[in-house]
């Protein structure tokens, strides 16, 4: 009996000892400190995004503090990992907003996480801005505190498809999408078929949707089916790492047809999958983007990314790094300009000020041009239809997500 008791104590102790190490309790924002929060997936299938996001925010923190801080106060960004698990993202937000008393939160990254985290942001009355979610309507459903520094995929698609049609003389397409990924499935089953119709492109498998599931190794049957349909182009609606599987299979079966997709495709990994297959997708940022601002950003961030273990040697800053960098910068701008005090007793008022600043924001100098937010909480900013071929992205069309297509970008 006593030995089993020791074992119980041992097992309980295992957990308790660990808790002791870090039982430091919440650190309250000192008056000379400005605290922001971020939710990124540093483990799980999107670990790469989360880790580069972390490096980006650390860089921003250092830049701001080196330049004298925010209104004389030191900037601190509390970054929490959500492990690509939506439920953890919600608790991250609760911790950031409730315990760490952050003024605003950057993140979460995925739409699935944003779907459950934004309602919490509303409940706790703190601004949360996603750096990557582009599933339609996610911020819109959670006004007024939810924002996304991304553009709704249907807006982007409206510019992407005409370019794609013109550039490759597309008259027919086949659509394949990841049915398990909410964003990809929405784009693949709703948005793209609609846009194709608007542009007079026939969807050859309109009555026979082709899908696969996140994590599937083999999409050969789907690709063979596409091959048999013999379309002019292929719509691949999937996260880049899944899209790699599809594009590799297309190459293997000799389906060398131009691919079009959503922002989910943008990554350097996808360019390596099949250099001979042209890929068209919208992006708000890409590493080789011309301009002083983006180039300085890339030049400063790239060496930092190289220090992180486990990332590919040739890694470049991603669109989501740019997005979260902009989110952080917007928050800091808001704190500076909207009279945010950063004092604990003003927390509620400060958060509201940041929200109101975001709502009214116009012409904020982002990396790729001015940024504002529309009524749905999504970004009004410039975007680029980029074409990836032979290992590099090349910008083809500059667009704007403003309702009229130009004002504000």
């Amino acid at each position: 009996m006593t030995s089993s008791l020791t074992k119980v104590l041992g097992a309980a102790g295992l957990a308790a000892a660990l808790s002791g190490i870090i039982a430091s309790g919440p650190v309250h924002a000192a008056s000379a400190e400005i605290v922001l929060g971020a939710i990124v997936p540093s483990s799980g299938p999107f670990a790469e995004w989360g880790r580069t996001n972390t490096a980006t925010l650390q860089m921003l923190e250092k830049q701001v503090n080196d330049a004298g801080g925010v209104n004389g106060a030191k900037l601190r960004i509390v970054i929490l990992d959500d492990a690509t698990k939506p439920a953890q993202a919600t608790n991250d937000l609760r911790k950031l907003a409730g315990d760490d008393h952050v003024l605003a939160v950057a993140g979460p990254l995925t739409s699935s996480a944003a779907e459950v985290t934004f309602p919490v942001a509303n409940e706790m009355k703190v601004v949360a801005t996603s750096q990557a979610s582009s599933k339609p309507g996610v911020a819109k459903n959670n006004r007024p505190w939810a924002f996304r520094n991304t553009i709704d995929e249907s807006v982007l698609g409206r510019a992407t498809v005409p370019y794609y049609k013109k550039a490759f003389n597309i008259k027919s397409v086949a659509i394949i999408f990841d049915a398990k990924d909410a964003t990809a499935a929405t784009v693949g089953s709703k948005i793209m078929p609609g846009l194709m119709k608007e542009n007079g492109i026939e969807v050859l498998n309109a009555n026979d949707p082709l899908s696969f599931n996140t994590g599937d190794l083999d999409v050969s049957a789907q690709v063979t089916k596409i091959k048999a349909l013999n379309p002019d182009g292929v719509v691949v609606s999937a996260d880049y790492s899944q899209a790699v599987t599809v594009i590799r299979e297309m190459k293997r079966q000799g389906v060398i047809k131009p691919v079009v997709g959503s922002t989910q495709l943008i990554s350097s990994a996808i360019l390596k999958a099949a250099p001979e297959i042209p890929i068209v997708a919208p992006a708000t940022f890409y590493a080789s983007m011309p301009g002083d601002k983006p180039q300085t950003f890339v030049k400063e961030l790239t060496p930092l990314l190289h220090k992180i273990s486990g990332l590919p040697a040739e890694i470049e800053p991603s669109m989501y790094d740019a997005n979260i960098y902009e989110i952080g910068s917007i928050y800091i701008d808001a704190i500076k300009k909207a009279g945010v005090t950063g004092k604990p007793e003003d927390l509620e008022a400060d958060r509201t000020k940041i929200r109101d600043y975001m709502t009214k924001l116009s012409g904020f100098p982002g990396l790729g041009g001015p940024i504002a937010f529309n009524q749905d909480g999504d970004a009004i900013k410039a975007f680029y239809i980029v074409q990836g071929q032979n290992g590099a992205w090349e910008s083809k069309v500059r667009g704007c997500s403003a309702p009229d297509g130009k004002h504000g970008c």
Binding site: M1, V8, A11, L14, L18, S43, S112, A179, A185, G310
Partner: protein, 277 residues
């Protein structure tokens, strides 16, 4: 109480119910790796009832529990033919079939997920969690629990002394499915958004893990397991990217140190005597 701890507590409460659903089935010697499927059924039914039919959450949960319980009974009958790991694999298949169904269930969003639910409080979640836990603990003191233990231990002997193993095992499946549905319904209304991916094999395993880590022979083990499983990854945050690797290692270490789980009957008896001495 901080919102963060409230969130953590809500997660524990939901996981506790999910773990109890596994516990009830496991008590009869049946290992279910498909309870996330029942959670999914519960989550979708409850959400439909509150959002589309406008029913109050409690009524919706009860209806979902009944429907899921009936499905559990329907699953329980064929499950009688299977034992041990084979049953586990069949239930795994069941969970995947449910998830696959939900992905294709366009009426409630399919892969796009479903929203519109109202947020529920931590207190409401725990009212359910504590009620079900107390109910299970009361049943543990009842004659039927002796029968359940007998069936788990030696089904043939149990039959020969007059116990209806079929009724007990199928009944347990039904009850487990009903409790899982409640867990699912609460999950849906805690997060106010659901998608089929929420109810994957991974979650089924989490539920089993909570039961085994906490102790699979007493209902309070499910509570201990749920607390550990939710708190541990939070405590391990200081390890940064090694957090989950450490979590896996701790899981193995805990099984090595105490394979019967943190709590068992002998320990509770010991503690009970200790507290009276």
């Amino acid at each position: 109480m901080s919102m963060y701890y409230a969130g953590i507590l809500s997660d524990i409460g939901i996981l506790l119910l999910g773990a109890l659903s596994v516990y009830i089935i496991l008590a009869t010697g049946q290992l279910s790796l498909g309870n996330a499927g029942f959670m999914g059924i519960g989550a979708y039914i409850t959400s439909w009832l509150t959002v589309e039919a406008g029913l109050p959450i409690t009524v919706a949960l009860v209806i979902a529990a009944l429907v899921s319980g009936a499905i559990g009974v329907a699953v329980g009958f064929p499950a009688l033919r299977l034992k041990g790991i084979y049953l586990a694999m069949a239930t795994l298949g069941f969970g995947e079939v449910v998830r696959s169904f939900l992905l294709n269930f366009a009426a409630m969003g399919g892969p796009e997920g479903f929203h519109g639910m109202h947020h529920i409080s931590t207190g409401y979640i725990w009212t359910w969690a504590v009620s079900v836990l107390v109910l299970v603990m009361l049943i543990e003191a009842s004659p039927i629990w002796l029968e359940i233990r007998a069936v788990r231990d030696d089904e043939t002997a149990a039959g020969l002394v007059g116990l209806n193993a079929t009724e007990i095992k199928v009944g347990a499946f039904g009850c487990g499915a009903a409790v899982a549905a409640i867990a699912g319904g609460l999950f849906a209304h805690h997060h106010v958004y659901i998608e089929p991916g929420n109810f994957s094999f991974e979650r089924s395993v989490d539920l089993v893990l909570a039961v085994i880590l906490g102790g699979s022979t007493v209902a309070s083990g499910a509570l201990a397991g749920a607390v550990m499983l939710v708190i541990l990854p939070e405590y391990l945050r200081f390890l940064a990217e090694w957090r989950f690797a450490a979590f896996g290692a701790l899981l193995i270490a805990m099984l090595l140190v105490r394979r019967q789980g943190l709590l068992d009957r002998a320990l509770l008896r010991f503690a009970w005597r200790g507290s009276r001495a």
